[in-house]
């Protein structure tokens, strides 16, 4: 034990005990358990797609276009004879990638900006928050579409567009929390033992302000997945032949009457993914809010 650093000990402590009540609270929340299961399934699909998918998602077979579900092709085939199931499985990669990465970037930007605004206060706070308000005024989807069009196709440009607008909510949340936390006695106590401004900001104020951000992040992942699907549906985003749920939905939509599954399957996946992250966010919010904890027993 003595050989461990305090941080290691601390980390061990958190991993041993600190998270347990939280995990228990989440698991009590039935919807969030459903959300977690769906997220896990989609995650496994995304990570192991080459092993799970029965066919190469990009391999065309023009003798077998728009086939109904069969033994060989469980969900049927698309308009150029590619296996739909494989394409849906590979599509999860795009969705998860965009959802997680763009939310991570947006969260980081938001935390940094919100932290500075809340901690410095005064004129800096005012300027930063007015800029944030300005960003919030942009119509989200239109801006993303414009960005995607300007930057050209490609999944990374979608991520840039989403995170460039998505940070505003996080900045506001963090700022509000920081305003609250920085007045607490332990922050003054940290100042009284001679800690520097930055250390107090990152070690004492930030960790105590994060709870609502975690909730928001979970819901934002769902929103980002939806945004990516929307842009793909509108014809921007991933480059062909990469499979994306939004893109499948759009192409399948044309053949809705002949092979309904072509658009229903990817559409269902989008719905499930967004719902799952919202459920998880709900569960996290209840678990992190001590006032709500225990009510659902």
């Amino acid at each position: 034990m003595a050989a461990d650093t305090t941080e290691q000990l601390e980390h061990r402590r958190i991993s041993q005990v600190g998270w347990r009540p939280l995990v228990r609270a989440i698991l009590r929340h039935r919807l969030s358990v459903i959300g977690i299961i769906i997220i896990l399934i989609i995650a496994v699909m995304a990570i192991f797609s080459p092993f799970i998918a029965p066919y190469d998602p990009n391999k065309q077979n023009l003798y077998k276009v728009l086939k109904a579900p069969s033994k060989e092709h469980w969900l049927g085939t698309d308009n150029v004879g590619r296996d739909l199931l494989s394409r849906v499985i590979y599509g999860s990669r795009v969705s998860m990638y965009v959802g997680v990465i763009s939310t991570a970037i947006a969260t980081l930007i938001g935390i940094l900006i919100g932290l500075i605004a809340g901690y410095r206060g005064g004129a800096i706070d005012n300027i930063i928050m007015r800029i944030t308000d300005t960003f919030m005024c942009f119509p989200f989807l239109v801006f993303v579409l414009a960005m995607a069009a300007a930057l050209g196709p490609g999944i990374n440009n979608i991520i840039i567009a989403i995170s460039l607008l998505g940070w505003t909510g996080f900045a506001r949340i963090i700022r509000g929390q920081v305003l609250l936390v920085r007045e607490l006695p332990y922050v003054e106590a940290a100042r009284a033992v001679g800690m520097s401004k930055y250390r107090i900001m990152f070690k004492h104020v930030l960790p105590n302000s994060l709870a609502p951000v975690i909730v928001a992040a979970s819901i934002t992942i769902g929103a980002a997945i939806l945004t990516e699907s929307s842009t793909a549906f509108l014809g921007l985003g991933v480059e062909p032949p990469t499979a994306s749920w939004g893109k499948e939905l759009r192409v399948g939509y044309t053949y809705l009457e002949r092979v309904p599954l072509f658009s229903i399957a990817p559409g269902l996946m989008i719905t499930l993914a967004v719902l799952a992250f919202n459920f998880l966010g709900d569960g996290l919010r209840d678990a992190l809010d001590p006032r709500l904890r225990g009510e659902g027993k």
Binding site: M1, A2, A3, D4, T5, T6, E7, L9, E10, R13, G18, L184, P185, Y186, E188, A189, A190, R191, A192, V193, G194, M195, S196, K203, H204, P207, N208
Partner: protein, 323 residues
């Protein structure tokens, strides 16, 4: 060791300037325990925070005076140097043990943090030192307790942990701002005895800020009584209790229940309200509530004047004669 001269801390508010600390001077010897007494809002805490330069600015500001600590004027040095003083040469213990520890960090981390910061200790060394410190403040099973989070500690234990944190860098001065207000009486006594013993062992000076006269009587060597941002009486604890001279001090003493008092005797409260710090009464700030008022009190504020060895009173009336 510590000499405070003409310290003034004002707060600008929308309604006017609040002179929270108005021209106070006092000194402190090595290893001495000084009590700072007064009612809520009289400037006790603000003067303590001023010594540490922890007044939130805006709205507050130290507008004048000197705080000479070990030959150095703390009001002149820059923030960087001041940070090396805080928690290192002067430690502070706050009045809210329940909220003065960060809930997301272990107690051990928080006790060892100043050690690593000021003493450049390696984490393992600081951790071992924290074990020793926690033992010093009589928390059993210190090694395991360091891994606990503040919410797993009782109020008394948290305050002990705060004391341990304060003692960590063996400061020359500890400022305890109502260290025991939130604790029950038995724990109060334990903790104060402990603090007294530890400060004696380390030769640390201690400023206890409190409104509890019993605490002062038992632990302090000297006492400053504050009223409306000023020191109105300054004396050794023994003298102050034997011969309180300022009408406010006399009022305070009379309003505290005593065990040797006859049961039917009533406590005598100080009439009236504490003054509005924005519109202080002219002359002596206490005069509207004073029982011994004379004409001069309304016009001129009295200075602290010596009336005996180590006994200073700011009053126009020699109350003793009048009694």
């Amino acid at each position: 060791m510590l000499e405070v001269k003409n310290l003034k801390t004002y707060f600008r508010t929308d309604d006017g300037v609040v002179k929270a600390v108005d021209d106070i001077s006092f000194d402190l010897y090595e290893g001495e325990i000084l009590g700072l007494v007064g009612e809520s809002g009289c400037g006790k805490s603000v003067s303590a925070l001023s010594l540490m330069r922890l007044i939130p600015d805006p709205p507050g500001r130290i507008v004048g005076g000197e705080v000479i600590f070990e030959g150095q004027d703390l009001l002149q040095i820059n923030e960087e140097e001041m940070r090396k003083v805080r928690g290192n040469r002067i430690a502070m213990i706050f009045q809210e043990p329940m909220t003065s520890l960060n809930p997301v960090l272990t107690v051990g981390f928080q006790i060892s943090e100043p050690l690593r910061w000021h003493r450049n200790m390696e984490p393992e060394v600081a951790w071992k030192e924290s074990v020793r410190l926690l033992g010093l403040v009589q928390i059993p099973d210190a090694e395991r307790r360091l891994l606990a989070y503040p919410h797993q500690f009782s109020g008394g234990m948290r305050q002990r942990a705060m004391v341990a944190m304060g003692l960590g860098c063996t400061p020359k001065l500890i400022i305890a701002d109502e260290p025991t207000t939130a604790l029950d009486v038995t724990i109060q006594a334990q903790l104060l005895d402990l603090m007294k013993k530890l400060t004696q062992d380390f030769g640390t000076a201690l400023i206890i800020i409190t409104h509890n006269l019993g605490v002062i009587a038992r632990y302090a060597d000297r006492v400053n009584v504050m009223y409306a941002g000023r020191i109105v009486e300054k004396a050794t604890a023994r003298d102050l209790y034997a011969h309180p001279r300022h009408p406010y001090t006399i009022g305070l003493m009379a309003s505290v229940p005593r065990l040797d008092q006859a049961m039917k005797e009533k406590l005598v409260p100080i009439e009236g309200q504490p003054p509005d710090l924005i519109n202080l009464p002219a002359g002596c700030a206490f005069h509207p509530r004073c029982r011994y008022i004379v004409e001069r009190c309304r016009e001129e504020a009295p200075e602290l004047n010596p009336i005996a060895d180590n006994h200073f009173v700011a009053c126009w009336v020699n109350v003793r004669e009048k009694e």
